[in-house]
């Protein structure tokens, strides 16, 4: 006899039983223990057909295949680069994934990516042991030159991007800045000093008020007010 024990959008804590029986499937942030589906994180319940998912309220970014992230080079080795992904797991970018350029044998790899460089990459694979592979080949993937990187809570990233990128394009239009939001909670911003600062303040505001409804209108009004000054 299967039974769902929680409602949509209910806050659950780790260890809480969400459902019994085999009719439901464990999604993100949950796991199956015998007959039960149990929460492994603090978050809001989201029901998607038979699957039970959790939207975490807080926590570090965990690499996921297909995510576009902003990463920092932390090591240059003979067969590629090791990247910090702003998560507990570092990523590896191999030579073949790094650039379309021809890399001669024994070339100095720091001319492509040096320590401390930031880049937009895409996660191509995450193993069960959380070994992460990142590629630079794809649309929009590149080394970041100039600008600066700010950190936001990774679970607020969907709010900063907005529905189909509406929020971030609104900030881009209002400030004239180039903005790239990585799924891992790093945001790269480049523009004139004042606009750059305004973009960061706007992002911080979104982060702080992400739980409120009508956020897009609020941010729109905020940006308009700030532009008038």
């Amino acid at each position: 006899m299967s039974k769902l024990l929680v409602n949509e959008k209910e806050i659950v804590v780790p260890g809480e039983t969400l459902a019994t029986g085999m009719d439901n499937l464990p999604g993100n942030g949950t796991y199956r223990d015998g007959e039960n589906i149990i929460a492994s994180r603090l978050g809001l319940v989201q029901l998607e057909g038979r699957a039970i998912k959790l939207i975490p309220l807080a926590g570090r970014y965990i690499p996921k295949t297909g995510d576009t992230i902003i990463c920092k080079v932390i090591d240059v080795s003979i067969n590629g680069w090791r990247l910090d992904t702003n998560s507990p797991y570092s990523a590896m970018m191999s030579l073949k994934d790094a650039t379309f350029d021809f890399i001669a044998r024994g070339a100095d790899l720091t001319q492509y990516y040096d320590l401390g460089d930031y880049a937009v990459g895409k996660i191509i694979n995450v193993t069960s042991q959380k070994l992460v592979d990142v590629t630079m080949k794809g649309p929009g993937l590149r080394k970041l030159k100039g600008g600066r990187v700010v950190e936001v809570a990774s679970n607020k990233v969907p709010r900063i991007i907005g529905k189909a990128g509406s929020m971030v394009s609104m900030i881009k239009d209002a400030t004239g800045c180039n903005i790239t939001v990585g799924q891992n909670g790093l945001v790269w911003i480049e523009g004139t000093p004042e606009n750059e600062f305004l973009a960061i303040q706007t992002i911080r505001k979104i982060e702080n008020e992400s739980h409120l409804s009508g956020l897009t209108d609020k941010i729109k009004a905020y940006l308009e007010k700030a532009k008038k000054k």
């Binding site: 401390g116 030159k145 100039g146 600066r148 004042e194 600062f197």
Partner: protein
């Protein structure tokens, strides 16, 4: 390693703006000093500059004076950079940054002569009061040096002597006797990045510094200590400008005491 960041900062400086929107020689707000934050120390203070937070405590002990100064008390400053305050800090014996921090704070207090160590002597060559200042970083969001020196001074001002019962000290009871602090040495670290000078760097700016000069001064603008750091040299004109900024900003910072 941080050349991109440095170039970006220099680009911003051309229009006199910093990463967080401040002017070049502007401290983060608010700068707050809170006295008496621990019971176990004879004097303590918590200083916050923006998100940077430092606690300093003073213990007052009786020790044998150092052989070279038999008629004077002593001052020992220690700094601990806790790993919880910055992910780059490691546990273990104090590293070069912690030692530099402790020594610059020590130098500021010692050379400003704000405490008369001769008065701390109880019995020449045998007994004297020793001031032990411990600095603990709670959060490092940049500019630990200015926060630490301000906290150390505030803790000294807060300190009260423990009760002396015969030979023994009773730390449970504090007397009303305070240290005689004659002046207040304030350290201001002036940073050079590119051709510009700034004060109160945040974590990102600290990564991109060319040179830094810690300038300690007292109320009337008298210099009492300096410390140069960073990989680039400074010209004589640079130093004169930095000292001027340091003294001026020191006056502003002193108001927080």
């Amino acid at each position: 390693m941080y050349s991109e960041l440095r170039n970006h900062i220099i680009k911003l400086f051309e229009s006199n703006v910093r990463l967080d929107g401040r002017k070049l020689t502007e401290y983060r707000k608010p700068v707050t000093v809170e006295y008496g934050v621990t019971n176990t120390a004879e004097g303590s203070a918590r200083v916050k500059i923006g998100n940077t937070e430092v606690i300093a405590g003073v213990k007052i002990e009786i020790n044998k004076p150092f052989p070279d100064t038999p008629a004077e008390g002593g001052l020992v400053v220690g700094a601990e950079l806790l790993p919880l305050s910055n992910p780059d800090f490691e546990l273990g014996p104090p590293g070069i940054e912690a030692i530099e921090l402790a020594r610059t704070v020590d130098r500021g207090i010692r050379e400003s002569k704000c405490v008369d160590f001769k008065k701390l002597c109880i019995e020449e060559g045998e007994k004297a009061w020793f001031l032990i200042i411990d600095i603990v970083t709670i959060n490092d969001a940049g500019n630990l040096s200015d926060a630490s020196s301000l906290a150390a001074l505030a803790a000294l001002k807060d300190a009260r002597f423990p009760k002396l019962e015969g030979e023994k000290l009773n730390y449970k009871e504090k007397t009303d006797k305070r240290l005689d602090i004659k002046n207040s040495p304030i350290a201001v670290t002036v940073i050079k990045i590119g051709e510009k000078f700034i004060v109160d760097p945040d974590t990102d700016e600290e990564k991109a510094i060319d040179a830094r000069l810690m300038v300690s001064s007292i109320e009337d603008g008298t210099l009492c200590a300096m410390q140069k750091g960073g990989n680039y040299p400074l010209t004589a004109e640079d130093i004169i400008k930095m000292v001027d900024i340091g003294i001026e900003k020191g006056k502003e910072l002193r108001k927080a005491l």
